[in-house]
């Protein structure tokens, strides 16, 4: 064996790698007091699909808001107080009986954080990213969203600065419901476009 031969050590478990990075950043004084817990708390309680659900419910309840939302998603979403990183350039795509929209990011994990929060694991994993652009009708059916053959499927690959939000169709029989009750019907998956309501 040559002297330079290198036998790589086994990869440290991921928890230990996270702890190592945290320890080194802490020693260098780079982590503000409480920052980690605050960040976790914010993503677990404040930034999530409940925000997008409010946008959708408002669009269902108020036709003029719906028009503004489809014309300028960023501005209309800001009316409800949502915006910021990964939400600076929002385009809202509307599902109809004839058209079904679904979003994906084949290159990484682009996702509208202010309205949907951090993406679920499956959205970032290879099967979804590889297949949603190649066989969306098959994949949607596998995920429980079977569409009539006549329904046009529009896939949106978030490859540049725009982030997308799907405006699902309002379910039948919800006339007269309050906006808050309507928001309770809206799921994360329906705003990604992998489910219908």
């Amino acid at each position: 064996m040559s002297e330079g031969a290198h036998h790589p050590a086994a990869m440290a478990p991921v928890e230990q790698r996270v702890a190592a990075l945290e320890a080194l950043l802490t020693e260098r004084g780079l982590i503000p007091e409480g920052f980690i817990d605050q960040t976790i708390h914010r993503y677990e309680t404040e930034i999530g699909p409940m925000n997008g659900a409010r946008v959708v419910a408002r669009a269902w309840a108020d036709p003029r808001y719906r028009q503004r939302l489809l014309a300028d998603g960023t501005a209309a979403i800001a009316e409800l107080g949502f915006g910021g990183a990964e939400g600076h350039h929002m385009v809202v795509v509307e599902n109809t009986p004839a058209v079904h929209n679904v979003i994906v990011c084949t290159l990484c994990s682009c996702y509208p954080w202010p309205t949907l929060g951090l993406p679920p694991a499956w959205y970032k994993d290879p099967p979804y990213r590889a297949r949603m652009v190649r066989e969306p009708r098959v994949l949607l059916a596998e995920m429980g969203c079977e569409l009539p053959e006549a329904t046009e499927i529009r896939v949106w690959d978030s490859s540049a600065e725009v982030r997308y939000l799907v405006l699902p169709q309002r379910p039948a029989g919800t006339e007269g419901m309050t906006e808050a009750d309507l928001a309770g019907l809206v799921t994360r998956d329906s705003m990604i476009g992998v489910a219908r309501l």
Partner: protein, 210 residues
């Protein structure tokens, strides 16, 4: 030399079913939330060029990339940038972690010394047919492989933004109009899919008139 990264997954086959859970928690394990926060700490400390963080993920070993979750990708890229920007060394990380701490591989693209001139006016309008350039850049790009050489139609103009291919490898910037381009599935995959189209958002220089 394989320069098209493993991250460029659109259209690849053989991955099987999506592990889909409608009510998934934001963080499955405590370390995921900590990794997420540490990523923000590192980005604040090293102030990377636009695209540099994504490119650090793209430089992961392909086997590691495919067998690790996205929070681990973020951890790996954050640690890679921390080392490359001199906050500490890989040896420091491995000593603390008690084992190997894989980082992203070397940058293969040469530094972009001349970013080129901004393009102020869009070359294309909604309705125009465009073809995606057929090329294989050695560095960061936001032009997926599955549309290269394919023809589509511009459906939306989205304003002018810094080109990631330039800014990931340079402190310089070039701004260009971006477009949403619609591709029929039949054009992309030649498999007879009907009533399916895929939209990809692209910078001007990724395109040529069709």
């Amino acid at each position: 030399m394989p320069v098209d990264g493993i991250h460029d997954l659109g259209g690849m086959q053989g991955f099987g079913a999506v592990d889909h859970a409608p009510a998934e928690p934001v963080f499955h394990e405590p370390w995921e939330g900590r990794a997420r926060a540490l990523m923000e700490v590192v980005l604040g400390a090293v102030q990377p060029n636009g695209g540099e963080f994504r490119h650090a993920i793209e430089r992961m070993n392909p086997g590691h990339y495919l067998t690790s979750s996205y929070y681990e990708h973020w951890l790996t890229a954050a640690a890679t940038l921390a080392v490359e920007h001199g906050l500490f060394t890989r040896e420091d990380l491995e000593a603390r972690a008690g084992g190997a701490f894989p980082l992203g591989g070397p940058v293969l693209a040469p530094p972009a010394t001349d970013p080129g001139a901004d393009l102020s006016e869009p070359r294309f309008r909604a309705g125009d047919q465009v073809r995606v350039r057929e090329w294989h850049p050695p560095g960061h790009t936001r032009c997926p492989r599955y549309i290269r050489g394919k023809t589509g139609m511009v459906v939306r103009l989205d304003g002018s933004y810094s080109v990631p291919d330039v800014e990931a490898h340079s402190s310089g910037r070039r701004h260009e109009p971006t477009y949403s381009v619609r591709f029929d599935a039949a054009e992309l995959w030649s498999d007879g899919q009907r009533s399916v189209c895929v939209h990809v958002d692209l910078w001007d220089s990724y395109l040529e008139p069709a």
